[in-house]
């Protein structure tokens, strides 16, 4: 009898302990999936917030093209030092610039602009094809790799920002661009190879307006 009582007491104690400190939880599959998704970095959502709340309100920080182009023309190294930014040990660098110009040529992937008054040369090329690389993410200096524990997240931001440019900026620009029209723009340029990338400067547009 005493053995039965002892066993019962032990079972009760174990039951109480398990109640207080459960060995496992049963979580509905839907909830578990939702929690896992929430814990995963959402680059698309991040890029959307960044675009609206940080990038579009910082466009006035872009260097004016009428200042940058003559500076590059007279001394590319000095212009790089004064106006560009680069990442890590990279020799590539970025310009974040804005300006106004006249459209002088339109192709499937490019819109060429003359910036200087009475110029007929392409001084800026707005890239309107597929957008690759990190110019939009790294060109403004608003985002920093040190803030991301996993570089995959940081790289996903780049792809998401490029997607926003392709879907939100470029279709309207391609539709409205006509030779002779005046255009204002803000964008980022990556300079990898100076002889080909500086003359003309190739810019990925972030915001454009055709007058």
């Amino acid at each position: 009898m005493s053995r039965i009582a002892a066993s019962l007491v032990a079972i009760v104690i174990i039951a109480v302990v398990c109640w207080l400190f459960p060995l496992f939880y049963v979580v509905p599959l839907k909830t578990a999936t939702a929690e896992k998704t929430a814990a995963t970095f959402n680059a698309t959502q991040f890029a959307e917030n960044f675009w609206t709340n940080q990038l579009l309100v910082s466009l006035d920080k872009a260097v004016p093209a009428e200042k940058l182009l003559p500076a590059i023309q007279s001394d590319a190294a000095a212009a790089k030092k004064k106006f560009s930014r680069s990442v890590g040990l990279s020799e590539n660098y970025f310009y974040f610039l804005r300006g106004e110009g006249k459209i002088i040529f339109v192709s499937d992937d490019e819109i060429s602009l003359a910036i200087t008054e009475n110029s007929t040369n392409a001084e800026i090329v707005l890239e309107t094809g597929l957008v690759f690389g990190d110019a939009v993410r790294d060109g403004t200096g608003l985002l920093n790799a040190n803030d991301y524990a996993n570089s995959q997240d940081f790289n996903d931001i780049s792809a998401a920002l490029n997607h926003i440019v392709e879907t939100r900026v470029l279709p309207k620009l391609r539709e409205q661009a006509k030779v002779g029209a005046k255009i204002s723009f803000v964008g980022c340029a990556e300079v990898d190879d100076e002889p080909t990338d500086l003359k003309p400067l190739k810019v990925i547009p972030i915001q454009t307006e055709i007058q």
Binding site: G88, S151, A159
Partner: protein
């Protein structure tokens, strides 16, 4: 009187000489401070260059340096760290085996007051290592992807050999490549398998892919060891002219193969630059500088048959 002064001067001279001699002898006999170089594997020439360069630079800077091989095994890496912490090393130049699995080792070293400088491979933490010097694999593979489309064309089947699945570089390379290639719906990836960054495994995986997909036009490999293995499999199958091989690393044998027209392109990382710079950072840390950027991206350059003459010896020719 004169003799007295001469004796005194001689005594002072001898005392000074004795002090100088003692100090010099002490400095000569004082043990050098030690820097550890922990490398994920020495079974890959690229990592051998990384480790040896880091060690050589540390020695140039006046330290004793030792290389520890983790053999791509997090447990061996942990044992290496225990040993290093117990042996009084002043800094660790670290090429991790696993982005998540290696964090605990770095944290242990940090708790023991030993700064860790990651080289080439990342750990998924921004407050464990003192600094992480990382190849910009994603941007490098964006360039490779663009060159892939240019040379292979916008249509056709291709395969991908991934690296170690737990390593961030594997996915940064794959994602960079796919951020370009996936935009061309005519390019169809028919196989994607891990070759674990290993030449023999790359050969084996390529052989099985060729059996299932004999018509592929190209293979993108997440590193050069796998690219060499894949090329070997293609030669054995008589398909080396049909299938274009793309690698990543800038290993010497692949750069030579590009020059010989065997492999199409690779991404040149700069292991010597990263290794040297990390050793210099460790030296600066030991001498008192403690503010380093957490991540320092190092650019990757595209090496093709058009520009291969500019590259060699794990970098750009001077």
């Amino acid at each position: 009187m004169k003799t007295k002064w001469l004796k005194l001067a001689l005594a002072v001279l001898m005392a000074t000489a004795a002090i100088l001699f003692t100090q010099t002898s002490f400095a000569q006999s004082a043990p050098k401070e030690k820097i550890a170089v922990v490398v994920s594997t020495l079974n890959n020439p690229w990592f051998v260059v990384l480790g040896e360069t880091a060690k050589a630079r540390a020695i140039e800077l006046g330290y004793d340096a030792t290389i520890f091989d983790s053999q791509n095994d997090t447990a061996k890496e942990a044992a290496n760290f225990e040993n290093i912490i117990a042996s009084g090393y002043k800094a660790i130049l670290f090429n991790p085996t696993d982005a998540n699995g290696s964090i605990a080792n770095v944290e242990k070293a940090k708790a023991a007051g030993i700064p860790v400088f990651c080289i080439d491979r990342e750990i998924n933490s921004t407050n464990a290592a003192t600094c992480q010097m990382l190849s910009d694999s994603y941007a490098g593979c964006v360039k490779l992807g663009q060159y892939f489309v240019k040379t292979v064309g916008k249509d056709g089947e291709y395969a991908e050999l991934l690296g170690i699945v737990g390593d961030n570089n594997t996915w940064n390379r794959s994602k960079g490549f796919h951020s370009v290639v996936d935009r061309f719906p005519g390019l169809k990836m028919v196989a994607q398998q891990s070759g674990e960054f290993d030449r023999a495994k790359g050969l084996e995986v390529m052989e099985s892919i060729l059996q299932a997909h004999p018509d592929i036009k190209a293979v993108f490999c997440g590193n050069d060891s796998m690219a060499m293995g894949a090329y070997q499999a293609l030669v054995a199958a008589g398909k080396d002219k049909q299938v274009k091989v793309f690698g990543f690393d800038g290993a010497d044998d692949v750069v030579k193969s590009i020059a010989e027209g065997k492999i199409v392109a690779t991404g040149m990382q700069f292991p010597k630059t990263m290794a040297r710079k990390s050793a210099e950072f460790a030296d600066e840390y030991i001498k008192g500088k403690h503010d380093f950027p957490q991540k320092v991206p190092v650019p990757v350059e595209l090496v093709t048959q058009e520009n291969v003459g500019k590259y060699g010896d794990y970098g750009k020719k001077q």
